[in-house]
């Protein structure tokens, strides 16, 4: 399940407060021999991936079916700003040497398997990452690309179409679709 940015932040705050209280307690017992401070596991350098595009699509479907107020907002809060590592499909006509870059998040079989979604993630690429993409994919009509990126924009609404923009994208791998 994708992690909630807000609950994750609150968790760190509670843990931080516990450590501070523990440190204060230790301070009152200065005569005692120092004891090892309880420590949290060191934050991992590796990013925590929010989830796959299939999981996002499922969350969108559930929100669309939900009668609960705020269902769309919850999806947005859960995903916006999160890091994702997605394998997507690049088509030269929609992601070339210049201009906006849109990628297919699902194979064409998805519509039959999981229902329709119209959105194509827009991927913000630096010049070097775009070059890496072009070099890896060449002129293949369909090229599989593994990206690491951040969900910079996510529209989830009963009124507006779903759209997503991935920022800070890094091309991890390319290959045949």
């Amino acid at each position: 399940m994708p992690r909630s940015a807000s609950s994750s932040g609150a968790g760190f705050a509670v843990r931080g407060a516990s450590i501070a209280l523990l440190a204060l307690g230790l301070g009152c017992q200065a005569t005692e021999a120092p004891r090892p401070v309880a420590t949290e596991p060191a934050p991992s350098a590796a990013p925590r991936w929010a989830g796959s595009q299939e999981e996002l699509a499922r969350a969108l479907d559930e929100a669309a079916q939900s009668v609960e107020p705020g269902a769309n907002r919850q999806v947005r809060q859960r995903w916006l700003g999160q890091q994702v590592r997605w394998t997507v499909w690049r088509i030269p006509q929609l992601c070339g040497a210049e201009g906006a870059c849109y990628v297919r998040p699902f194979s064409s079989a998805r519509r039959e398997e999981h229902g329709a979604h119209g959105w194509l993630p827009e991927v913000e690429l630096t010049a070097s990452e775009r070059q890496a993409l072009l070099a890896g994919c060449g002129d293949r009509a369909l090229c599989q690309v593994t990206l690491e990126a951040r969900v910079d924009e996510l529209v989830v609404s009963d009124e507006a179409p779903t759209s997503i923009k991935l920022g800070g994208a890094r091309v991890v791998a390319t290959g045949d679709a």
Partner: protein, 423 residues
């Protein structure tokens, strides 16, 4: 020549697991707009004027499938809406110019139920009890500058019937509503529905050549504008130029105010800013490309975001799958990347791919060069064209309806006179 596909019970059973398709350019195409008929875009046409090749004709139709004898409150445009024609002239899929129509209805005598209180022989007739007028504005979207092109122009009346317009007077009266200012001509009013299609497609793709839009009317806006007023930088591109500014991208929309408050003792209040509730450029996009979950959202969105919002639907359209499943049409399997050929059609001359009706405006372009998808003429059989493109197997297919019920005219406003409520 169109080929008709037979419908079979076997095909019907195959369809049982598949959603049904809709196929009427954009008539009642989305659940939300079907509840607000007066602001429902139906079709957009654009062609080099057949009478003056220095001008472009744009037709934006609204209020679908109107029965001629629909009294006593005959159809009109909404007074509380904006009807707009948007022009992108530099290929970025963002409107650079907008032509806006706003309407006002007046009733001379509220003490009668009659639309007209006697025979009508002119627009100025005192017998024409319910009248509508409009202001046409031009908005430069880059500067925000708005100018009034035509003010207080009359909307053509409804063709009530032979007793109201005796001696075949109707069309003479209607054509008095053609307004002109500078090089711009404008017409607003009822016309014969120019879109021809077999709407039995709604019955499990049961097309068979039935001319189901014959005999109905539509509310039309017809605008004829010098191409130089529409072109990027005010200059019509030279013949042979093939850059992004050599094509215009056109779409029409309708917008309503955000808030409507019903009052117990007086008319409702319309408050707040305007929100787009309908849009249209290519025929049939919202009908058959966009699925139910996104149809109303499509109407709310802008063309510049079409690939981002709806690109997967374009790359992987439902129509050929239905044609294969229901009618055994033998439509081709899509290429590896999906239907990038359709994306290409939406992005001529290096323009940003979007649902815009694009037309080449180079010098030397004439009426003969116009034809869907390079603009759209009234006679274009877009249903057959789009079915053929969607199926993509080298065979021409269609719905079996290949022409309008009435001939179009060679003079402005080019659309045929509306059907009479009492012929």
């Amino acid at each position: 020549m169109s080929k008709l596909f037979p419908f079979s019970l076997l095909a019907a059973s195959l369809l049982a697991a598949a959603p049904t398709a809709a196929l009427a350019s954009s008539h009642r195409e989305a659940p939300g707009i079907a509840e607000d008929q007066y602001v429902d875009n139906t079709d957009v046409y654009a062609f080099i004027s057949p009478t003056d090749a220095s001008k472009l004709v744009i037709v934006a139709n609204y209020v679908p499938l109107l029965i001629p004898s629909s009294g006593p409150n005959f159809y009109r445009f909404s007074d509380d809406a904006l009807y707009e024609i948007h022009i992108d002239n530099n290929g970025d899929a963002v409107a650079d110019l907008t032509y806006r129509y706003q309407f006002q209805t007046r009733t001379k005598n509220g003490g009668t139920f009659l639309y007209n209180t006697g025979p009508v022989d002119s627009l100025a007739s005192a017998n024409l009890n319910v009248t509508q007028s409009y202001r046409l504005s031009r908005i430069d979207e880059r500067s925000g500058r708005r100018t009034t092109v035509i003010d207080n122009a009359a909307v053509a009346p409804w063709h009530v019937g032979k007793r109201s317009f005796p001696g075949g007077a109707y069309e003479n009266v209607a054509l008095q509503a053609v307004a002109q200012a500078g090089g711009v001509r404008s017409f607003a009013g009822p016309r014969d529905e120019p879109f021809f299609v077999d709407l039995h497609v709604f019955d499990l793709l049961g097309v068979g050549g039935a001319p189901t839009t014959d005999g109905v009317n539509v509310m039309s806006l017809v605008l004829e504008v010098p191409i130089s007023e529409l072109a990027y930088g005010g200059v019509r591109p030279a013949a042979g130029v093939a850059d992004r500014t050599s094509v215009l991208g056109i779409y029409a929309s309708a917008s309503r105010r955000k808030v409507r408050i019903l009052r117990e003792r007086r008319d409702a209040d319309e408050l707040g800013s305007f929100v787009q509730v309908s849009r249209l450029a290519w025929p049939l996009v919202n009908e058959v490309i966009i699925p139910l979950r996104d149809k109303d959202k499509y109407n709310r969105s802008l063309p510049r975001d079409d690939v981002k919002n709806f690109g997967a639907y374009i790359l992987d359209p439902e129509v050929p799958k239905l044609l294969n499943a229901v009618l055994g049409a033998g439509c081709a399997a899509p290429a590896a990347g999906g239907r990038t050929d359709i994306v290409g059609l939406l992005a001529p001359n290096g323009t940003v791919a979007a649902d815009l009706l694009r037309i080449n405006i180079n010098q030397g372009q004439t009426f003969a060069n116009s034809g869907f998808p390079n603009g759209r003429k009234l006679t274009d059989d877009v249903t057959d064209t789009l079915l053929t493109v969607a199926c993509n197997n080298g065979a021409a297919i269609g719905d079996g309806v290949n022409a309008n019920d009435k001939p179009f005219t060679s003079t402005f406003p080019y659309l045929a006179s509306p059907h009479s409520g009492n012929p």
